[in-house]
């Protein structure tokens, strides 16, 4: 029974990881159309994309977008988490809902809404439009991570700072921010990773300022092109690095607290 279940679990995990592994494997495979058995090893796809100025433009846009998104989203997430931690007021659940709701709405709807709205207010097709949209999408993650950290704080800590002569602003800088630092860093990396991968909203909103996933989307729409595997592997490398850093920050914090 246990053996059977173990095999079953392996099968499910295998299903989940099969496309990732296949994509990585074929990014180094020299067949134009990927199939088994594997043919020769090549780095031609990587060379192709590195030689493609479109790729570099998209990569640059992606870096700008995720770099700005993570800062703004983390700021918004922090403000919400702190407000939730510190204050109780009428309409608070509504306040929390407007920041936490976006992940429950299909991206395609948000994409259409953003496209229409931005063109209405004269912001269409700009990098800032993508950034604005991505902050809305990723701020809930920032909020969740930082709120979790704040739930671990000794509630007297902030009051203790006021009591020792710190104004509310000073206590924020000297106590709340240092306390939340690991969560803030973690949130920066995580929101950057989410933004770096998002394509639906970017595709609708970006206009000519394509991000990397939109670039991939456009290649995929045309033909089967193993370039996608190479880009996918690269993007995966970036994302996973960001996530691992974010997880390590949390993990080491826990280790330190435990020791």
């Amino acid at each position: 029974m246990t053996l059977f279940l173990r095999a079953y679990l392996a099968l499910i995990v295998g299903f989940i990881f099969l496309p990732i592994v296949v994509s990585m494997a074929f990014s180094f495979n020299d067949a134009r159309f990927p199939t088994l058995p594997l043919s020769g090893f090549t780095t031609i796809w990587y060379e192709t994309i590195f030689a493609d100025p479109d790729f570099w433009r998209a990569a640059k846009n992606s870096l700008i977008v995720s770099g700005c998104t993570c800062v703004i989203a983390t700021f918004l997430g922090f403000c919400t988490a702190y407000t939730d931690y510190r204050y109780s007021f009428r309409g608070k659940s509504l306040f929390l809902a407007i920041i936490l709701l976006p992940p429950t709405i299909p991206l395609i709807i948000i994409a259409l809404a953003m496209l229409a709205w931005f063109s209405r207010v004269g912001m269409s097709g700009q990098v800032v439009s993508i950034i604005a949209a991505h902050t809305v999408l990723t701020a809930p993650f920032a909020m969740a991570i930082i709120r979790l950290r704040l739930s671990q704080i000794d509630e007297s800590l902030e009051a203790a700072a006021w009591n020792l002569g710190a104004s509310e602003w000073r206590a924020m800088r000297e106590v709340i921010l240092p306390f939340c630092k690991p969560a803030i860093l973690s949130s920066l990396f995580l929101t950057a990773a989410v933004s770096f991968d998002e394509f639906t909203v970017s595709w609708f909103v970006s206009g000519l300022n394509k991000t990397l996933p939109v670039h991939v989307l456009e290649i995929v729409q045309g033909t089967i092109d193993p370039q996608v595997n190479a880009i996918g592997t690269l993007v995966f490398g970036v994302s996973i690095t960001l996530v691992v850093i974010s997880q390590l920050l949390i993990f080491f914090r826990l280790q330190k607290a435990a020791s």
């Binding site: 246990t2 279940l5 079953y8 679990l9 499910i12 995990v13 299903f15 989940i16 990881f17 496309p19 990732i20 296949v22 994509s23 159309f33 990927p34 199939t35 088994l36 058995p37 918004l76 403000c79 919400t80 407000t83 510190r86 204050y87 306040f95 407007i98 920041i99 709701l101 429950t104 709405i105 299909p106 395609i108 709807i109 948000i110 259409l112 809404a113 953003m114 496209l115 229409a116 709205w117 604005a132 902050t135 809305v136 509310e168 602003w169 990773a193 989410v194 991968d197 609708f204 991939v216 989307l217 995929v220 089967i224 595997n229 996918g232 993007v235 995966f236 994302s239 996973i240 996530v243």
Partner: protein, 282 residues
């Protein structure tokens, strides 16, 4: 701590309200309003007319897309729930906490790989001359048609939702009070009966929420039905893309979007009511 509304408190409250109003509430309200706009001479006119609604609601292909999307997203939620359960059960009850955490950590990885690239990868795997048929060919089987079918679409949906459902189910079951299960076993319950009488009721909320997420994600996904299902027949998200990208008929796309939102609202609301309802006496 009391809430005193001062500059300090407002600093942490106002930016979010303004930001979300500008970039979340505004767009959402606008898309609803847009469903009542009309397009004249390739230009959208801001008005209040039921023209787009009337057009969309009277078209059969909209309703068949609606039914098909519901069916496919529902199937994906059901399939993911069933497929994940044995694995989640194994992780929750037959593995050490450490193994469980490691596997969950591992399962988070797919969230940070491009879904698009994974779908493309499935495309190359499932294609007529693709990886899977290549493998079958080695045994003299196939080729089978897997792309541009409901099977292709479901494979894509499952790629998207299976890790999430598996994680949520595992966490749900790992959090069930162990004593309940011990008690059931002591009272002579077989494992199957324990699942039915203890685990399913105790973890109801978690299972329903996991299935709901699977439904919402599949319902709104355009990548799998587009690339793996070949848009044949199209789903609601594909209708949105077609009407916006090709037809410039934004109000009609907005109608589809509002239909989707209403549907999701009703389904999410019922699911959550069901998930959190106290069990009535039976």
């Amino acid at each position: 701590m009391r809430s005193r509304l001062n500059l300090y408190a407002l600093t942490f409250r106002l930016p979010i309200i303004v930001w979300q109003a500008l970039f979340f509430i505004g767009p959402l309200i606008f898309v609803v309003a847009m469903s009542f706009f009309v397009v004249k001479n390739y230009r959208m006119v801001e008005t209040f007319e039921l023209e787009s609604w009337a057009k969309m609601v009277s078209r059969d292909y909209v309703w068949s897309a609606y039914r098909y999307t519901l069916l496919m997203a529902g199937s994906a939620a059901a399939l993911a729930t069933l497929l994940a359960f044995p694995a989640a059960w194994f992780l929750a009850f037959r593995c050490s906490a450490r193994t469980r955490q490691l596997v969950i950590l591992f399962l988070i990885i797919p969230f940070f790989t491009s879904y698009l690239v994974r779908t493309f990868s499935w495309y190359t795997i499932l294609a007529e001359a693709g990886v899977l048929n290549g493998a079958f060919g080695l045994f003299g089987l196939g080729p089978y048609k897997m792309l541009n079918t409901a099977f292709g679409t479901l494979t894509g949906y499952l790629t998207l939702v299976l890790p999430l459902v598996l994680i949520l189910q595992t966490v749900t079951m790992a959090n069930i009070d162990d004593r309940l299960i011990q008690a059931a076993r002591n009272l002579g319950c077989s494992p199957a009966r324990t699942i039915r009488t203890v685990i399913l009721p105790a973890g109801k909320t978690g299972f329903v929420i996991a299935a709901l997420f699977a439904f919402i994600l599949s319902f709104g996904d355009f990548v799998a039905p587009f690339y793996l299902g070949g848009s044949n027949p199209p789903t609601m998200p594909i209708l949105i893309i077609d009407t916006t990208k090709a037809g410039q008929q934004w109000p009609r796309a907005a109608v589809v979007a509002v239909m989707m939102m209403l549907t999701l609202f009703v389904i999410a609301f019922s699911a959550i009511m069901y998930a959190y309802r106290k069990r009535a006496s039976r």
